[in-house]
C-alpha cells in the first residue's frame, strides 16, 4: 500500500505546526483517465484533469532514496532534498518559498526508501508559475556552500526530532535489525556522523546522477487541460538532459533464518513493539494479497489483531499492520503499544494469531471487509488533487503508471487462498525480527 508507514518512512523538508489534525487528503472525482507522455528526454509526464476545485497539484517524483546510499553517503538523498529549497542560479534561498506562498500555494517535499518527491498545490490559474518555480529548483539548484552548512544543522535537528516519536524509532530499529546488507537497513535521515561529514561533492553527485529526465516523473492533477499541461511541462523542462541512471545492483538480503530481537531502554512510559516479517517487492504478484492480509489483520475497527489483542485479551492498547510497497522486498510490520510488563505476552498473542491465519486462513467476511476497506481508503485517498497526484506519482516511480490504474481491479481479485498462501510464507514463528522500546527497568 502506498501510505502505510508514511509518518515513519517519509521525511519532509518542513514539519507542520498544526492546530487541528485532520486526515491527510484533498479533492474530487477526475472526469477521465490520467494521460501519460514520455518526452524525448525520457521525462515522464502524467496529467489528470480534475475539475472539482480550482486547484492544481504538481508533484515531481525522483527515483532516488536511501536505497541508493551506502554507509558513507547515508542521508544524502534526504539532505539533497533540503538543498533544493536553498536557491538556484536565478533565485536566492527563500525566494521560492515567498513566491509560492505569496500566491496562496503550499509546497513541501519528502524522502523515503525508494523515492524523493516535491509537491506544490496552488490555485490552478498559477499553474505555469509554480511549474516554472519547481522545475527551476529541480534543474538549477546551486547547493550553495554556505547555505549547505546552515542546512546541515537543520538536518541534524531533524535527526534530534526523531526521538520525539518512539513508535517511529522502533520502526527504524526494526529495519536495522531485519536487514543486514540491503540499504533498507539504514535510516532515511542518515546518522549524525554521516550528516556531520557529508561533503558537498556527495550531494552534487546525487544531484547529477539521479536528477535526470528518465529518472523523474512529473504529475499534474487539477483544473487544467491535459494537452496544455503536458505542453507546459515540455516547455519548462526544455533543454533538460542527462544520461540514464547507472545503478549498481543492490545487495540481495539473505533470507532471515532466525528470530532477531532488540530491546532498547528509553525515557518512555509504555512499550513500543515493531515486529517485521520479510514480505514481497512491488514486482511480485503477491503484493496485492499482502495488502489484503495487512488490512484483514491490522487496519480498521474490525481488524483481527485489534479484536483479539486489544479487545479480547487486552494485552495491547493499540495494534496495527502496515505494508509499504517498495522496489525491493520489504517488511510487513505489526506495530503494537503495550504496558511494559505485558510486552512479551503481547508478542506471543500476536504471533499466535498470525499462526492461526497461516493455518486456517481468513474468513469470507474478513476478506470482504479487507478488500472493501482497501478500496474505500483508495477512493477516499484519491478524491483530492493532492491525493490523486501522490498515488499516480508513487506507483509510477516504484513500478509503472499502469500500476495505479490496475490496482483496485487486482485487489478485487484477491482470494482467501492467496491470502493464506502469503500468510503461510510470511508468518514463520522461527523467522522474524522484533524491536522493542521500553522504559528503563527500575
Amino acid at each position: 500500500m502506498r501510505v502505510a508507514v508514511l509518518l515513519a518512512a517519509v521525511l519532509a523538508v518542513a514539519a507542520p505546526v498544526g492546530v487541528i489534525a485532520l486526515p491527510v487528503a484533498a479533492g474530487a472525482r477526475g472526469p477521465g483517465a490520467a494521460v501519460r507522455a514520455v518526452l524525448e528526454s525520457g521525462l515522464t509526464v502524467i496529467v489528470q484533469e480534475h475539475t472539482a476545485a480550482d486547484v492544481v497539484a504538481l508533484h515531481t517524483w525522483v527515483r532516488v532514496g536511501s536505497k541508493d546510499e551506502d554507509d558513507e553517503t547515508n542521508g544524502a538523498a534526504h539532505f539533497l532534498e533540503h538543498m533544493l529549497f536553498k536557491g538556484t542560479a536565478k533565485r536566492r534561498a527563500g525566494e521560492m518559498d515567498r513566491e509560492i506562498e505569496g500566491i496562496g500555494g503550499v509546497h513541501n517535499a519528502g524522502t523515503s526508501l525508494d523515492w524523493t518527491y516535491y509537491h506544490v498545490a496552488a490555485p490552478s490559474r498559477h499553474f505555469d508559475r509554480v511549474l516554472e518555480l519547481q522545475s527551476d529548483a529541480l534543474m538549477h539548484s546551486t547547493l550553495d556552500p554556505s547555505e549547505l552548512e546552515r542546512e546541515r544543522r537543520v538536518v541534524l535537528e531533524e535527526i534530534n526530532r526523531r526521538d520525539n516519536f518512539p513508535a517511529t524509532r522502533a520502526l527504524e530499529l526494526l529495519r536495522g535489525l531485519a536487514f543486514t546488507v540491503h540499504p533498507y537497513r539504514r535510516s532515511v535521515l542518515g546518522t549524525r556522523s554521516t550528516v556531520e561529514r557529508m561533503p558537498r561533492e556527495t550531494l552534487l553527485g546525487f544531484y547529477r546522477d539521479y536528477y535526470v529526465p528518465d529518472n523523474m516523473t512529473v504529475v499534474v492533477v487539477g483544473n487544467v487541460r491535459a494537452a496544455q499541461a503536458t505542453a507546459g511541462v515540455r516547455r519548462a523542462y526544455a533543454g533538460f538532459r542527462g544520461p540514464p541512471v547507472q545503478r549498481a545492483p543492490r545487495p540481495v538480503e539473505p533470507p532471515l533464518e532466525s528470530v532477531r530481537r532488540l530491546a532498547v531502554e528509553q525515557d518512555v512510559r509504555v512499550a513500543y513493539l515493531a515486529i517485521g516479517f520479510p514480505g514481497p517487492a512491488v514486482r511480485d504478484r503477491e503484493v496485492y494479497a499482502t495488502d489484503v492480509l495487512a488490512y484483514a489483520l491490522g487496519r480498521g475497527l474490525g481488524a483481527r489483531l485489534r479484536q483479539q489483542v486489544v479487545e479480547r485479551s487486552r494485552l495491547a492498547q493499540s495494534v496495527g499492520v502496515s505494508f509499504l510497497t517498495t522496489e525491493d522486498p520489504y517488511l510487513l510490520v505489526v506495530s503494537a503499544i503495550t504496558e511494559p510488563a505485558h510486552a512479551e505476552q503481547a508478542e506471543a498473542a500476536i504471533l499466535a494469531e498470525l499462526a492461526a491465519v497461516a493455518e486456517q486462513g481468513i474468513t469470507e467476511a474478513e476478506l470482504a471487509r479487507a478488500r472493501n476497506l482497501l478500496e474505500g481508503e483508495h477512493i477516499y485517498g484519491t478524491h483530492t488533487t493532492r491525493g490523486q497526484a501522490y498515488t499516480l506519482g508513487f506507483y509510477a516511480t516504484i513500478s509503472d503508471p499502469e500500476f495505479a490504474s490496475a490496482y483496485l481491479g487486482r485487489i478485487r481479485q484477491v482470494t482467501r487462498d492467496e491470502v493464506q498462501r502469503v500468510a503461510r510464507r510470511l508468518f514463520d514463528p522461527r523467522r522474524y525480527a522484533i524491536a522493542v522500546i521500553r522504559p528503563a527497568a527500575r
Binding site: 514539519a15 505546526v17 492546530v19 487541528i20 485532520l22 486526515p23 487528503a25 484533498a26 479533492g27 474530487a28 472525482r29 472539482a52 476545485a53 486547484v55 527563500g94 518559498d97 506562498e101 505569496g102 500566491i103 496562496g104 503550499v106 509546497h107 496552488a122 490555485p123 546552515r150 542546512e151 544543522r153 537543520v154 541534524l156 535537528e157 531533524e158 534530534n160 526530532r161 526521538d163 520525539n164 516519536f165 518512539p166 525515557d267 518512555v268 512510559r269 509504555v270 480498521g300 475497527l301 474490525g302 479484536q307 486489544v310 479487545e311 487486552r314 492498547q317 493499540s318 503499544i337 472493501n372 478500496e375 474505500g376 477512493i379 477516499y380 478524491h383 483530492t384 488533487t385 493532492r386
Partner: protein
C-alpha cells in the same frame, strides 16, 4: 468586554430562533450559496453541503463537549465516552459495527478537542443511509458494557503515557495549563491518570446522556447528496436522538468565562527536565474567542509570525541561522479565549538563543508596522491554505460543524476570506500591542540545556 457580550446575544438569538421553531412546528432553515442549515423540532442542527464532485458522502456529528465542559473530576470523560461508542450499542455488537461500515468500504472516525467531540462516517454515496443510521445509533444507544469500559480505560491510560513520551506534546500540555490556570482549558483532552482511573461506568453514562442530546449536536452531511435527500434522511435517522437541555456548564460558562481567563500578571515559565535529544520550547499568548473582532487580525499576525516557510520565525530561526528543523506558530481557535502558540525544537546548547529569537520576533511585531508586501503574503498564505485544506470532503464537513459549535455559524466558512482580506497593517500592530504582552513559556529539555 465585547466578546463576552456577543456570544450571549448570539445565544439569545439562537434561543429565540429555536423557540419560534417549536412554536411553528417546522424547521428553520438558513441558506447560503453551497450550504444550508436546518434546526429540527428536536433542537438538532443539520447542515448540508452538497458536493457532487466525488462519489462519497460524509456524515459527521459534532457535539459541544471536551475539556471546556468537563468538571475537574470528569477530566477526560469526553474522550473516554467517544472510545465507548464503537464498542457496541443496544442493537449492534462492536464486531457488527465494524463489519457493517468497513464491509462496504466505509470509514468510521472522530476526534476530540478543547470544545467538542466528533464522530463521522465516510461512505460511498450509495451507502448514505447506512452511514447516517450508524452515526445515529452510536450517538443514541451506546452500550457501555462494563468489560469494554475497562478495555477503554486501559487504552486511555496508555494514550496519556504515549502523549507524555513525546516531548513537544508534553510542552504543549504544560503551556495550556500555564495559560489557563483557572479555566478548564488547562485540562488535557485525554484527562489525567487519576481521573481516568477513577471514572465509573455510571459517571460516563451520565455524561453521555447529558451531552449527547439533540440540542447539543450538529450533524453535517457533505458530499454527493441533495439538500432534500439529506434532510429527509437525517430527520428519520436522528429522530430517536435524546432530547433535553444543552449541558448546564454551557450557560454557566457564558457568564463567567471571561473571569476564568484573566490576563497573566507576569511572564510565566515552566520547565521539565528530561533526557530528550532536542530541547523543545513553546511560547503562548492569550487571544480572543471565536467571533471576536480581533480574531482576523490575530490570525494574520500569526501567519506573519509563524505559518509557512516564508514566515518570520521560519526565516529567522531556520533559514538564516539553521537553529531548528521544526519552528512556527499556530493560532488556536476556541469557543472561549484562544491563544497563539509558538514552538521550536533545537539543540540543547542553543535553547536560550532560540528562546530569545522567538521573543525578539514577537517584540518586532509590537514595535514595527507590517510592510505591505508581508501583509499581503500572510493573507495569501491563510486564504490559500484554507482553500486547499477544504478540498478534503471530511474537512469540509468538519469545519461547517465546528463553526456551529464555536457559535459563529456554518456560514463563517464563506465570510472567513473577506474578514482576513479586510485586515490592515495597523490592525495587526494594534493587536500585537494589545495581546502579545505577557508570555507563558513551557520548555522540555535535557539536563544542562541552555
Amino acid at each position: 468586554m465585547t466578546w463576552a457580550v456577543r456570544p450571549l446575544i448570539a445565544t439569545l438569538l439562537a434561543l429565540l430562533l429555536v423557540a419560534s421553531i417549536i412554536a411553528h412546528g417546522e424547521a428553520a432553515s438558513v441558506r447560503v450559496p453551497g450550504a444550508s442549515r436546518h434546526v429540527l423540532e428536536s433542537g438538532l442542527t443539520v447542515v448540508v453541503k452538497p458536493s457532487p464532485a466525488s462519489d462519497l458522502v460524509v456524515v459527521e456529528a459534532l457535539l459541544r463537549a471536551g475539556p471546556r465542559l468537563e468538571a475537574p473530576a470528569l477530566s477526560g470523560a469526553t474522550f473516554f465516552v467517544r472510545g465507548m461508542l464503537v464498542r457496541g450499542t443496544d442493537r449492534r455488537s462492536a464486531d457488527q459495527i465494524a463489519q457493517a461500515i468497513e464491509g462496504v468500504g466505509g470509514l468510521l472516525g472522530g476526534g476530540t478537542g478543547a470544545d467538542f467531540t466528533s464522530l463521522y462516517a465516510i461512505t460511498p454515496s450509495r451507502h448514505l443511509d447506512l452511514g447516517m443510521e450508524m452515526v445515529a445509533d452510536l450517538l443514541t444507544n451506546a452500550r457501555f458494557d462494563p468489560r469494554d469500559v475497562e478495555t477503554q480505560r486501559g487504552v486511555g491510560l496508555s494514550r496519556i503515557r504515549q502523549n507524555a513520551d513525546q516531548p513537544l506534546q508534553r510542552a504543549v500540555d504544560l503551556l495550556g495549563a500555564t495559560l489557563y490556570p483557572h479555566h478548564p482549558y488547562a485540562q488535557p483532552v485525554l484527562g489525567t491518570t487519576e481521573t481516568i482511573a477513577a471514572l465509573t461506568r455510571e459517571q460516563l453514562l451520565e455524561f453521555y446522556r447529558a451531552h449527547f442530546v439533540a440540542s447539543n449536536t450538529v450533524i453535517v452531511i457533505a458530499g454527493n447528496v441533495t439538500e432534500i435527500q439529506a434532510l429527509d434522511k437525517a430527520r428519520r435517522a436522528f429522530g430517536a436522538l435524546r432530547t433535553g437541555p444543552p449541558p448546564r456548564r454551557l450557560g454557566w460558562l457564558r457568564t463567567v468565562e471571561r473571569a476564568l481567563v484573566p490576563p497573566l500578571a507576569s511572564p510565566q515559565e515552566v520547565r521539565e527536565t528530561r533526557p530528550t535529544a532536542a530541547a523543545w520550547i513553546t511560547v503562548g499568548y492569550l487571544g480572543v474567542p471565536a467571533g471576536h473582532r480581533d480574531f482576523a487580525p490575530l490570525r494574520v499576525l500569526n501567519a506573519v509570525l509563524g505559518e509557512g516557510m516564508s514566515s518570520r520565525l521560519f526565516v529567522e530561526v531556520r533559514e538564516r541561522r539553521g537553529l531548528a528543523y521544526q519552528v512556527g506558530s499556530a493560532y488556536v481557535m476556541r469557543s472561549g479565549p484562544g491563544h497563539i502558540r509558538l514552538s521550536a525544537g533545537t539543540d540543547p546548547s542553543t535553547l536560550s538563543v532560540v528562546r530569545a529569537a522567538m521573543l525578539r520576533e514577537v517584540e518586532r511585531l509590537r514595535a514595527e508596522p507590517l510592510p505591505a508586501d508581508e501583509l499581503e503574503r500572510a493573507k495569501q498564505v491563510i486564504v490559500g491554505r484554507y482553500a486547499l485544506a477544504r478540498e478534503d470532503l471530511e474537512a469540509q464537513a468538519f469545519y461547517l460543524g465546528w463553526y456551529e459549535i464555536l457559535g459563529i455559524g456554518f456560514d463563517y466558512d464563506r465570510r472567513f476570506a473577506d474578514e482576513i482580506g479586510r485586515v490592515t497593517a495597523s490592525d495587526v500592530l494594534r493587536v500585537a500591542r494589545m495581546y502579545l504582552t505577557v508570555p507563558a513559556l513551557a520548555v522540555v529539555a535535557p539536563p544542562g540545556a541552555e
